[in-house]
């Protein structure tokens, strides 16, 4: 932070830098606030006021401002040191901070004045600026008036230093409090040591991979390799387990925090905690602590309506905030949900436009999902006034920054009037990841499997048609949707041999909602790779997230799918759009058909089809199980008799056959149902199950029956046979049941 502040002195316009400092101070304030270190909190709050104005450009970062901020930081550090030594923040010395706080408040309150005046003299934007200045000023005044009396009260009678014992008692008497036993039974391990173990295990995994690839030499070696494999896996698992800690480790801090927040905000909130036993890597757990604190603050301060409002709309007076942790595949999902007022997309958008975060002309076309994403932008807040708890719009920014830093994702769901859910998706661990190793132009690259969606193989004969072009952009038709295609060799500017097109593979990736196909020459093995960090220079390129040593001992770069997508201008897929399109497609897609062939032996087989939904089973039985009731072939089936429809006289031929093994010849029967009655259709061979469309009322010239309907199954045009014919055949075979079965004949 000191570095950032001094950097700010040389680059006063750098807004990213200011945002960084602001986040740091905000986090200090937030954390200390809920721990009860009021001296630290009030100092940090004043400092934050100044930084907030700096960030919005309301005051310039002059040398004087930065000097004061640096002094603030020194003071903060002093108190922190005291806390780490003695456990209390020396509240009785809070008096010493008073001059500094006053100076800071003066800076934020008075310094701002002349700048507005100067700005408002600019003729063109005078009116709008004035308005902004006025609101900002009144905002500032309101904070000042909140802050100062609070301080005055605090000074004469400093808050008693909180005792750790007191914490524990309070934490447990809040409903849902963390079980103390769970934490006591665990062992404390030096994280440094754990990291070392992790590295060793990484090496072991590499060795195992190398041995596994050379295992054809002799059998003893093979066994050795297997044992090494087992040991490695076990060791890895146990080390991982040592790093894992239940989320209750951080959850247990929340009851107290929620209690204090409720007191400040004058709300009644019940905290519900689910899945506390869910485990997460220790370092990741630390990393999500701050985001969770911010999320819970937001839920209570912004999310919950005041009690009176809740009663008015018939909600229970006591609101509920739920913390939920579950494991989903390779991720742990942590949800913070509330049953508060929810978020109004319109209001968020309005606010974003007012704050200049979104150009007004873009605002109209934004989807709800995009709008909710705005909440995560630095400087965004919908709170009407800035309170001690939240409302500066730093919170969500911190949440996203921290979670993305550890490779996680943040999602936000909200229903107006019903509540908001914030979902943090955290990877279980970062050190060892499953990856697919691919090759392009002779170089190997690893692609993390969590981004992998599917693999498409394009054979030599299809190469020329598989990839189509829209202008100079390549696309591939994946089940009817156009998928943008990126060639790995082009993306990485690899030296391309201008050889003729050969077969290739396409790796379909979904990188945080950006879906695209990556064309590679070859797919190698899927491998568990140990991620090695790259040097700063290479990290800055952004294209690779690390490197790894493969089983054959060679180095491979780990491609960052998101960076690759962004570099290729792949846009975010809009989930809602997809959802809207999906049912439309569903409605268009006709039912599936079962395609089969009939016809006597020796004749050209005829392709026929039946709607799949009426097919119950496909039975293959020896011919001797089929009996004849007069001319009608029947089969005992599920304790009843199943009449069989044998249009092409397959059964007749078999019964006439002189061959000795005719009795054992397998016969395929489609068991179909119609109006609760079952009938079997004897077929020569079942070919396929595929989708098709029936074109009603289309006349087919030259067809056997003038009333035949046309259908398209797969990519072949087929004929829908007149149902009357089926009925006739059935009637002629003395069957009474099948009346309206649709049967399709392939033209």
């Amino acid at each position: 932070m000191e570095r950032s502040l001094t950097e700010l002195e040389s680059r006063p316009e750098d807004s990213a830098l200011i945002a960084e400092i602001f986040r740091a101070v905000h986090t200090i304030k937030g954390t200390t606030g809920f721990l009860g270190f009021h001296r630290l909190e009030s100092l940090a709050h004043s400092g934050e006021n100044v930084l907030g104005l700096l960030r919005e450009g309301k005051i310039k970062s002059s040398q004087q401002v930065i000097t004061i901020l640096l002094r603030t930081m020194d003071a903060l550090r002093g108190i922190l040191k005291r806390i780490s030594v003695s456990g209390d923040d020396g509240a009785e010395e809070a008096m010493n901070d008073a001059p500094l706080i006053r100076e800071l408040d003066q800076l934020s309150g008075l310094e701002a004045g002349p700048v507005y005046a100067a700005k408002s003299r600019e003729k063109k934007k005078a009116a709008s600026r004035k308005k902004a200045a006025a609101t900002a000023k009144s905002l500032e005044e309101s904070t000042a008036s909140i802050q100062l009396p609070a301080m005055l009260q605090q000074l004469p009678q400093p808050a008693p230093p909180p005792e750790p014992v007191q914490y524990n008692r309070r934490a447990t008497d809040v409903p849902g409090g963390a079980s103390q036993a769970a934490t006591e039974s665990t062992l404390r391990v030096d994280v440094e040591l754990l990291n070392r173990m992790m590295n060793l295990v990484g090496e072991l995994v590499l060795t195992r991979n190398q041995i596994l690839q050379h295992n054809s030499v002799n059998h003893g070696f093979n066994t050795l390799a297997r044992r090494l494999d087992m040991v490695t896996s076990d060791l890895r698992e146990s080390v991982m387990k040592a790093r894992m800690q239940p989320v209750s480790y951080i959850f247990q801090k929340f009851p107290r925090m929620v209690r204090d927040l409720c007191h400040i905000c004058n709300k009644h909130v019940q905290l519900d905690m689910v899945g506390q036993e869910t485990e997460l890597d220790k370092s990741l757990l630390e990393a999500i602590k701050d985001p969770l604190i911010h999320a819970v603050r937001n839920a209570i301060d912004h999310g919950m309506e005041p009690e009176a409002d809740r009663v008015a709309i018939g909600k229970p007076v006591e609101g509920t905030v739920r913390l939920r942790a579950i494991q989903e595949g390779g991720h742990v999902v942590i949800e913070v949900s509330d049953d508060g007022r929810g978020m109004d997309p319109k209001r968020i958008l309005q606010k974003a436009v007012d704050k200049g975060l979104v150009p007004a002309e873009n605002a109209e076309n934004m989807s709800e999902r995009e709008i909710f994403q705005l909440v995560f932008m630095p400087g965004f807040s919908t709170a009407e006034k800035v309170t001690n708890v939240s409302g500066r719009g730093v919170g969500m920014d911190v949440v996203r920054t921290n979670v993305e830093k550890i490779g996680g994702k943040v999602e936000l769901d909200s229903a107006l009037g019903k509540g908001t859910t914030l979902r943090l998706r955290i990877p279980l661990t970062l050190a060892i990841v499953p990856a697919l190793v691919v090759r392009a132009c002779g170089e190997t690259f690893a692609i993390p499997q969590n981004a992998l969606f599917e693999l498409v193989y394009v054979s030599e004969e299809n190469v020329s048609t598989a990839i189509e072009r829209v202008d100079n952009v390549q696309v591939y038709r994946l089940r009817g949707d156009l998928l943008p295609v990126v060639r790995l060799d082009e993306l990485l500017k690899l030296p391309m041999e201008k050889s003729e097109q050969k077969k290739f593979f396409m790796v379909v990736l979904d990188a945080d909602g950006r879906r695209f196909g990556l064309v590679v020459d070859e797919l190698l093995d899927p491998e568990e790779i140990v991620v090695k960090p790259l040097s700063v220079v290479l990290r800055q390129m952004g294209l690779f997230s690390g490197a790894t040593i493969l089983g054959n001992g060679s180095l491979a770069l780990i491609l960052d799918p998101t960076a690759a997508a962004i570099r290729s201008n792949i846009a975010l897929r809009n989930v809602e759009e997809d959802a809207a399109i999906a049912p439309a497609i569903e409605a268009e897609v006709s039912p599936e058909f079962l395609v089969f062939s009939t016809g006597r032996k020796g004749e050209r087989p005829r392709r026929m089809a039946l709607p799949l939904e009426i097919v119950d089973r496909i039975e293959t039985v020896p011919f001797n199980r089929i009996e004849f009731a007069g001319q009608q072939p029947v089969m005992q089936y599920l304790g009843g008799l199943l009449p069989l429809l044998d249009e092409s006289n397959l059964l007749h031929d078999l019964s006439e056959s002189s061959s000795t093994n005719a009795a054992q010849t397998p016969v395929q029967i489609l068991v179909i149902h119609h109006e609760s009655e079952a009938v079997g259709i004897v077929v020569r061979e079942v070919l396929d199950v595929t989708r098709g469309n029936i074109y009603a009322d289309a006349n087919l010239p030259g067809a056997e029956n003038a009333t035949s309907k046309v259908a398209r199954i797969g990519d072949r045009v087929t004929v829908l046979q007149n149902m009357a014919t089926v009925r006739e055949i059935l009637a002629s075979q003395n069957s009474e049941s099948v009346k309206n079965n649709m049967q399709l004949e392939v033209a």
């Binding site: 170089e443 990485l492 500017k493 690899l494 790259l534 220079v537 390129m541 040593i549 180095l555």
Partner: protein, 161 residues
Amino acid sequence: MMSATSVSTTSAVETRALCSVRVGGQMYGVDINEVSEILGPSQQRSVPCAPHFIGGLVPYRGEVLTTVNLRALFDLPPFEQLSSALVVEGESGTYGLLVDAVCEVAQVTAETFEAIPSTLDAKRKALLRGAYKLPKGLLIQLELKRLDPMALMAMSSSVAV
């Protein structure tokens, strides 16, 4: 300016040991105290889209080491054989310096030191600290501070602007 200050510091020391390396036809020297390890000829894993001065990656003690290609920096054609690497602790982390061959350690004295002549291109000159006039020929000391990949990056981007 830079070389002037270097002169004053080097003249204070009687003799110093330089690890001499060959790049192209020229001998270069690196203060032996600044070299943490020498890696023999090894295969470089090239990094696509990386700045031109990046030689590639080599495995090093279970980590992956980024190397700086001196030939690329001195506009020499690529080396036909495998390069050796000096492992150096830089400001942005450990990195490797790719050289054609690592030769003996040379003992040099301050009297034989001379600054790089001003006729050399300023950009190139920044990478060199000065030259020692040895009987066998000149031994040019490399300015390791400037050879750190991040420093090179900053330099190349400032030139580009």
